[in-house]
Symmetry: C2
Subunit: 299 residues, 2 copies
């Protein structure tokens, strides 16, 4: 599978208390992690033993080096990632207090430099599954067109619709895997079944994620009916990256030939396990962990 | 003059609103600036046309490159700055809303790597004024001892007392220039005159800064009495860096032979002008601006 969306650097700053306006707080500890929709999904897939490659755009700075080093250490192929002097990863600063309450400041602007720069058609055609997101929309549209023409399924990790070319991208997505709340915004519907039907398109599979409420899905056939599965029962520690983990596992399942219910089950398990551990990519489970977890939770 | 304390990178993040706990906010703009007590004071002096050098410790990363490039572009001599792979500048993240309300997250940890590493005695003895701060305390103590032995005045930019060797450093400071609130904490006194007397030591000059309330000072002679000057009347836009600007201008005045009232006047003018402009180092005035301002505000 190939991802061309956003890779990001998350700086987690630990503070003794969340500050008030006009306040100043001393950071007592910090750690840097790789995040971003595309990067987290690719790492999730790589930990499941599925070949994953990143073909987005990064810069020539230390932060970009960090992202590439982290992805490579996870076994994600970065040979097709472009590097441009003005570009860079997205940035999030995540401030966390001792109770786990947090404030997230996110700045995708580095990743919006050359947002139209897609990998060559040959690179796109070399993958089994293409993952796109709502950040680098023009590049995602270009690559998704190539994938469509080659019969390669396009999985969409979409959470924001404000880009002017978002409708073009949406129309190219074969597997729309989105939070139920975003589905509600897109359709104006509130009931999951109605949202699924509102997002239905020829050949498209729709999956709505809803955290502890589980997931709803609708297959691509005109005769398909909405289905639901509850979430795996876990103790939630940190939901950072769970959505992206779900996408990565879903795409990994698609790349390895799992049918739709099995994909949703795998993705739900990976999402749930990610929530039981602190950190986004740090919390992603490996294949043996997921299989043991699914064996312990049949159905 | 020579500074060996902290240089920092300030990332200013503009947000549409300051976030609540468990909130997420999109950064709409950001800029990077050089900050830190020592670095800002040195740039303040350099803009007044006084030779200034930085001899603290930085790392080998992009952030350190940024600090060195910025200081050099301001005419600050960085030939004696050390660079170590694990070290780095201090870091502040300053989140600002459209009304100018802000939250500051500060992390000096990079600057605490090799906090004992002082410049060689020859470098210290080559300056007219040594500036120390409360961050790199062990290095400041070592350099201040060399300066003392050579008859070079030591100016202290001190705002925190928690370092175990803070008392050693305090004892070596000839020109103690501190916020009145910090003086109150050090002495237990509340009245500026009482604070000045509580901080008196043989040969030491004490200056208390109090923003819009002006400054109090006490000369080094045993017969000196406390004096006060009101703040220059300005419209305050942003007080970031004003204290460090005051220190730099004070030290610059010392290096160029101004007497104590003239030093406090110059430092007050530079501090006031810095407050009228946005940004810390960006708001520091140059020599002609300060002279025109002082000409317009005699006394």
């Amino acid at each position: 599978m190939l991802g061309i969306g956003i890779a990001a650097v998350d700086d987690i700053l630990r503070v003794p208390h969340l500050p008030e306006a006009d306040g100043k707080v001393r950071v007592t500890g910090s750690e840097r992690a790789c995040g971003g929709l595309a990067a987290t999904a690719l790492v999730a897939a790589a930990r499941l033993g599925v070949r994953a490659g990143y073909a987005g755009v990064l810069g020539t700075d230390d932060l970009s080096d960090f992202v590439l080093r982290t992805l490579a250490s996870e076994g994600v192929d970065v040979a097709h990632a472009a590097r441009l002097p003005q570009a860079g990863p997205g940035r999030s600063i995540i401030v966390v207090d001792p109770d786990g309450r947090r404030i997230v400041y996110s700045d995708p602007s580095g990743a919006l430099v050359a947002a139209e720069l897609a990998p060559t058609p040959d690179v796109v055609r070399s993958t089994r599954v293409l993952m796109v997101d709502h950040v680098r929309v023009p590049a995602c549209v270009r690559a998704a067109r190539v994938a469509r023409a080659a019969g390669i399924p396009v999985v969409g990790d979409l959470e924001r619709a404000e880009h002017p070319r978002f409708p073009d991208l949406l129309a190219l997505v074969d597997h729309l895997v989105i939070p139920v709340a975003f589905g509600a915004r897109l359709t104006g519907a509130r009931d999951p079944d109605a949202i699924l039907r509102g997002l239905r398109a020829p050949g498209r599979t729709v999956v709505l994620t809803a955290g502890a409420e589980g997931a709803w899905w609708l297959g691509p056939d005109a005769t398909a009916v909405p289905a639901h599965r509850p979430a795996f029962p876990v103790t939630v520690v940190d939901t950072t990256g769970c959505g992206d983990a779900f996408h990565g596992a879903y795409a990994a399942g698609l790349a390895t030939g799992l049918d739709l219910p099995a994909r949703v089950r795998l993705a739900s398990a990976v999402g749930a396990l990610t929530a039981t551990r602190s950190g986004g990519q740090a919390g992603l489970p490996d294949r043996p962990t997921v299989e043991a977890f699914m064996d312990a939770h049949p159905g």
